[in-house]
C-alpha cells in the first residue's frame, strides 16, 4: 500500500488558514444579520448591602431603592452580604453594580481625592472603589490639592457642583450616632471615634471615679476577630483600633492636638509646606520597645508600599492611604525628630497624615512579605495581639464575647504633669480601662443589659426603633450625637448603563431623602443640603452653595418614598431610554 506522506508544516498552516476563513465567513454572515436586529434587553442591576443584623439603616435604604428601581422597569437583584464580606466584595473585588453603604466620613475635602481620583482606581479600600475616571474631575481634585485660600475654595465649589452631575456616588443622609448610657456615667453622647472614648474616660462618673473598667456594650456579627488597622475589611472596629494605636496628632473638635508629638512646627516659606515634628520623650510600645522617629518614618513609607519594594508596582495600605499620599517626603533627623514635606501648600491638607496610627517597625517590617502577586501579609494579617503605643493596650479577648483594653501604665500622657498635656485628658483616667461586651446582632439584649447594670454604655449604633425603647427603662438615657459618616449609594462604572451620567443621576433621584430621614432614621439624621454635602463633605451653612431646589438629585419624583411611575418613565424616556411594556431597555 502506498503510504501517505505526512503534510509539511506549510501545507498544514495553509490548510488551517483556509478552513478558518471558510468557517469565519459563515459566522460573519450570521453575525451581521444578527447585529442588524439588535434586540435590546431589560436593564438589570445587582445591588448589595449588609443584612439588617449588621446595619438596619443600610438595609432599609436598599429596600426603598429596590422597590423604586423595580417600579421604574429595571430588573433588580439584591443580595445581603455580611459586613466583612461586604467590604471584601465592594472595596477589594469591586464586584457590584450599586452598593448602599456607610462611609466613615470625609472630614477634610481633600479626602475626595482618594475617593475619586483615577490614580487610585487600582487600589483597595475606600480608594476609588467605583472604577471612576474623569479627566475634568481629576484636574479639579489636583488643583484643590495643590492650592490654598480662595483659589482652593473656588476649586472645591466647582468640584462639588460637577460631582452632583457626574460623580460616582451620592449621599443619602448623615446619620446621628444613637446610643444609650446609664445616668451615672454623665454623658449626653456615646463615642463613635477613639477620641470620644478618651473624653468619656476623663469624665468623672456621678458616683466618683471607678476602680473598674468602663463597660461598653457592642453588638454585631463577627466583630472583633481582626485587629489589623490597615486592612480594607476592617470597618466598625476602627475606632477601637485607634485607641490602641496613637497618631502624631488627634483631631479633637476640629483642631489637631499634638499627641505622640509634643511640637509640630510648620514652614510655609516655600511653594509647598513643610513640617518638623518632635516626639514626646520616653515613648514606648506596648511590648516595652522604645518608640522613636524611625517608627514614624517607617509608617509613612510602609503605607505607601507595604511590600517595601519587594513588589515592583508597590502595594499601598488599604486604610489611611489618602492621608499618607499627601506626604511628599519624610526623613528622620534625630531620635525624636522627623521632617515632612508635603505636596500641598495648605496646612489643613498637610495635617491629614498626622492622624494616621503609627506602627511599630519591629513588628510590621517582616510583614512586607508578599503573600500573592499583588498582596502582602501586612494587609491580610489578623494582627493579634495588636502592639501599639496608645493609652490602652490589648488585654483579654474571647472572640465575639469580650474584649479588654487595659490602661497602658507606661504611657507618658498618663502623667498629669507632662508638658503640653492635651486638655481632653484633664481628669483621665476615671476608669481602669475599657471592657467591651459583645453580643450577637441583637440590640435589644444590650438595652436589657444596660438596664440591669451589666454595662455602662452602648457604643454601637442602635437602630432608631430600639433607641426609642430606652426611655421605658429607669436610670438610663438615650443619647444622640452627630457624626462625620455618611450613608452613600455608590455606582460601578463598569456597568454599561451606570457609566452614563444621566442614567446614574436618575437612579440617585429614586431615593426620597426626606422620607428616609423621617421614617428610617426617625429624624435622627441630616439630609444633604449643599453641593458639598451631596459629595459627602459636611459644611457649615454658609461655606457651600445650597443645593436645595437646584440639584436634581434632591427632587424626588414621587411622594412618601414611592415613585410616580409615569413621571419616572417620562424622565428615562427624556434621556433617550426606551420602554417595552413595563421594562426599561438597555
Amino acid at each position: 500500500m502506498e503510504e501517505l506522506a505526512p503534510p509539511t508544516r506549510r501545507q498544514l498552516l495553509a490548510g488551517i488558514a483556509t478552513a478558518t476563513t471558510g468557517s469565519v465567513a459563515g459566522c460573519m454572515e450570521r453575525f451581521w444579520s444578527g447585529s442588524d436586529e439588535n434586540t435590546p434587553e431589560q436593564v438589570s442591576l445587582v445591588i448589595k448591602t449588609v443584612p439588617t443584623d449588621d446595619d438596619y439603616i443600610a438595609a432599609s435604604i436598599l429596600s426603598q431603592l429596590r422597590e423604586n428601581l423595580a417600579d421604574a422597569g429595571i430588573q433588580v437583584t439584591t443580595e445581603p452580604v455580611a459586613e466583612r464580606e461586604f467590604y471584601r466584595e465592594i472595596l477589594i473585588q469591586r464586584d457590584y453594580d450599586i452598593f448602599v453603604g456607610r462611609h466613615p466620613g470625609l472630614f477634610e475635602p481633600d479626602a475626595l481625592r482618594d475617593l475619586l481620583h483615577s490614580a487610585f482606581r487600582t487600589e483597595e479600600g475606600w480608594q476609588n472603589p467605583f472604577n471612576f475616571s474623569n479627566m475634568a474631575i481629576d484636574e479639579l481634585l489636583e488643583k484643590q490639592h495643590t492650592s490654598e485660600g480662595e483659589t482652593r475654595e473656588e476649586t472645591l465649589e466647582e468640584l462639588f457642583e460637577s460631582l452632583e452631575q457626574i460623580g460616582p456616588h451620592s449621599v443619602v443622609a448623615f446619620p446621628n450616632h444613637l446610643g444609650g448610657a446609664r445616668n451615672e456615667v454623665r454623658t449626653s453622647w456615646t463615642p463613635n471615634r477613639a477620641e470620644g472614648y478618651i473624653d468619656l474616660l476623663s469624665t468623672e462618673p456621678a458616683d466618683g471615679s471607678r476602680t473598674n473598667p468602663l463597660r461598653v456594650g457592642l453588638f454585631g456579627e463577627g466583630l472583633s476577630d481582626r485587629f489589623n488597622p490597615i486592612a480594607a475589611d476592617v470597618g466598625s472596629e476602627r475606632p477601637l483600633l485607634e485607641l490602641l494605636y496613637d497618631p502624631l496628632a488627634r483631631r479633637i473638635d476640629g483642631e489637631y492636638v499634638p499627641w505622640l508629638a509634643d511640637d509640630i512646627s510648620w514652614d510655609d516659606s516655600g511653594v509647598e509646606i513643610e513640617a518638623t515634628v518632635r516626639l514626646r520623650e520616653g515613648l514606648t510600645w506596648h511590648d516595652g520597645e522604645s518608640l522613636d522617629a524611625s517608627d514614624v518614618e517607617f509608617t509613612i513609607r510602609f503605607f505607601e508600599d507595604t511590600s517595601l519594594g519587594e513588589i515592583e508596582s508597590g502595594v499601598p495600605t488599604s486604610q489611611y492611604r489618602g492621608c499618607q499620599s499627601v506626604v511628599d517626603s519624610v526623613s528622620t533627623v534625630g531620635a525624636r525628630t522627623v521632617e515632612f514635606s508635603f505636596e500641598t501648600p495648605s496646612e489643613a491638607v498637610a495635617s491629614r497624615p498626622l492622624t494616621v496610627p503609627i506602627l511599630p517597625e519591629h513588628v510590621w517590617e517582616s510583614r512586607s512579605e508578599p503573600v500573592g502577586e499583588y498582596q502582602t501579609e501586612a494587609r491580610t494579617t489578623d494582627n493579634e495581639p495588636p502592639i501599639g503605643s496608645g493609652l490602652f493596650r490589648f488585654g483579654e479577648h474571647e472572640a465575639n464575647e469580650l474584649l479588654e483594653f487595659e490602661l497602658f501604665d507606661d504611657h507618658v500622657l498618663l502623667d498629669p504633669a507632662v508638658s503640653d498635656r492635651p486638655s481632653i485628658l484633664n481628669g483621665f483616667p476615671q476608669y481602669d480601662g475599657i471592657e467591651f461586651h459583645i453580643v450577637g446582632p441583637y440590640p435589644g439584649v444590650l438595652i436589657d443589659m444596660m438596664a440591669d447594670d451589666d454595662i455602662d454604655i452602648i457604643g454601637a449604633d442602635l437602630p432608631p426603633e430600639h433607641a426609642g425603647s430606652i426611655v421605658e427603662e429607669s436610670d438610663v438615657s438615650m443619647v444622640n450625637s452627630s457624626t462625620d459618616s455618611a450613608y452613600i449609594v455608590g455606582y460601578n462604572f463598569q456597568h454599561p448603563q451606570l457609566g452614563d451620567p444621566r442614567f446614574r443621576s436618575l437612579v440617585s433621584r429614586l431615593i426620597d431623602r426626606d422620607h428616609v430621614v423621617e421614617e428610617v432614621f426617625d429624624g435622627y439624621a441630616e439630609k444633604p443640603e449643599t453641593y458639598a454635602e451631596l459629595a459627602g463633605v459636611r459644611s457649615p451653612d454658609d461655606s457651600s452653595r445650597s443645593a436645595d431646589g437646584t440639584a436634581s438629585v434632591l427632587r424626588f419624583p414621587g411622594s412618601d418614598g414611592e415613585i410616580n411611575q409615569d413621571l419616572v418613565r417620562t424622565l428615562f424616556e427624556d434621556e433617550g431610554y426606551r420602554y417595552d411594556d413595563d421594562t426599561l431597555l438597555e
Binding site: 439588617t52 438596619y56 426603598q64 440590640p443 439584649v445
Partner: protein
C-alpha cells in the same frame, strides 16, 4: 449571666410540659415499667445514638472553618431567589401576609411555639418511644433526626441565604427579637444568620408529626397534638420573619426524606451493607492478587 438564665428558664418550662404530656399520653404505669428495665432499651438504641452524637460532634468541631469556607469560597447566595419565588407564587410573600395580621396575643403564641413548643415537640418522642415494648420506633426517630440535621447542615454549607427580617426591615418585622430579645443569645449560639434554607425548625417538627402518624395506634392522642404544634412551628418561622415560604416547603420535603430514611434503613443495616461491600471488594482484590502471583 443572661445566657444561663435564659437556658434555665426554657429548660424548666419544657420539663413541666414533658412531665404533663408523659402522664397524660404515656401514662405512669408504662413509664415506670420502661424505666425499670432501661438497660436493654439503651442497648437497643446505642448504635443510632452514637451516629447522632458523631454528627453533632462533627458540627461542633468544624463550625468555624465550615462557616468561613462557605461564606468565602463554596457558598451560593440564593436570598434573591427565595424572595423572588415567594413573591412570584403569591404576589406578596406569605411572610408579609402573616405579619399583616399581627396581634400581641398571636406574637406571644408564636414566640412560645417557636422556642418552648419546638423544644417540647422534639423531646417528647424520646420519652414516648422509650416507653414502648420495642425500640424500633425510637431508633427510627433518632435516625430521622440525624438525617434531618446532617442534610440540613449540608444545605447550609452550600447555600448562603438570609431570612426575610435580614433582607428588608421595611417589609418584614424581626418579631422574635423585638418581642423576646434574650432569645437572640440562644439562636445565636446555635445557629448563624445565613442558615435559613431549609427551615430546620419546620423539618424537625414535621418529622415528629409524620412519625406520630406512623405510631398512631400506640399514641393516638399524640397525632393531633403534634400536628397542631408542628403546623404552628412552621407558621411561626414565617410569622416571626425568620424564614421564607420556600424554606418551609423545603423543610417539609426534608422531613419526608428523613422519615423515609428513618423507616427504611437502620444503622445496623447500613453497617452490614458497608461491610459486605468492602469485604467483597477486599476478596476481589485478594483473588486478583493471588491470580497475579500464579
Amino acid at each position: 449571666m443572661v445566657f444561663a438564665s435564659v437556658v434555665l428558664e426554657i429548660g424548666l418550662a419544657v420539663l413541666a410540659m414533658l412531665v404533663t404530656a408523659t402522664l397524660v399520653i404515656v401514662g405512669p404505669r408504662q413509664l415506670v415499667r420502661a424505666v425499670r428495665d432501661f438497660r436493654w432499651r439503651l442497648e437497643g438504641i446505642a448504635l443510632p445514638t452514637t451516629v447522632l452524637l458523631c454528627v453533632l460532634f462533627l458540627r461542633w468541631a468544624t463550625q468555624d472553618v465550615a462557616q468561613t469556607i462557605s461564606t468565602q469560597v463554596t457558598g451560593v447566595a440564593i436570598t434573591d431567589y427565595l424572595f423572588g419565588i415567594d413573591r412570584a407564587l403569591f404576589g406578596e410573600t406569605p411572610v408579609v401576609f402573616l405579619q399583616s395580621i399581627q396581634m400581641d396575643e398571636l406574637t406571644s403564641y408564636f414566640v412560645f411555639v417557636y422556642i418552648y413548643g419546638y423544644a417540647f415537640l422534639l423531646a417528647f418522642p424520646f420519652v414516648a418511644y422509650f416507653a414502648l415494648r420495642e425500640m424500633d420506633d425510637l431508633s427510627t426517630l433518632i435516625l430521622a433526626y440525624t438525617a434531618n440535621y446532617g442534610i440540613g447542615l449540608l444545605c447550609y454549607f452550600v447555600f448562603i441565604a438570609y431570612g426575610p427580617r435580614n433582607v428588608d426591615p421595611t417589609l418584614f418585622d424581626g418579631l422574635l427579637y423585638t418581642a423576646f430579645p434574650e432569645s437572640g443569645f440562644l439562636t445565636h449560639s446555635i445557629n448563624h444568620n445565613t442558615n435559613v434554607f431549609p427551615s430546620l425548625h419546620t423539618s424537625m417538627a414535621m418529622t415528629v408529626f409524620f412519625l406520630a402518624v406512623h405510631t398512631r395506634e400506640k399514641y393516638p392522642l399524640w397525632v393531633p397534638l403534634s400536628g397542631v404544634l408542628a403546623g404552628s412551628v412552621a407558621l411561626s418561622t414565617m410569622y416571626l420573619g425568620i424564614h421564607w415560604f420556600s424554606d418551609v416547603i423545603a423543610g417539609t420535603f426534608l422531613a419526608l426524606v428523613s422519615v423515609y430514611i428513618g423507616r427504611n434503613y437502620t444503622v445496623e443495616g447500613l453497617v452490614r451493607t458497608a461491610r459486605v461491600f468492602f469485604s467483597t471488594k477486599f476478596k476481589d482484590a485478594q483473588t486478583r492478587f493471588e491470580g497475579d502471583r500464579e
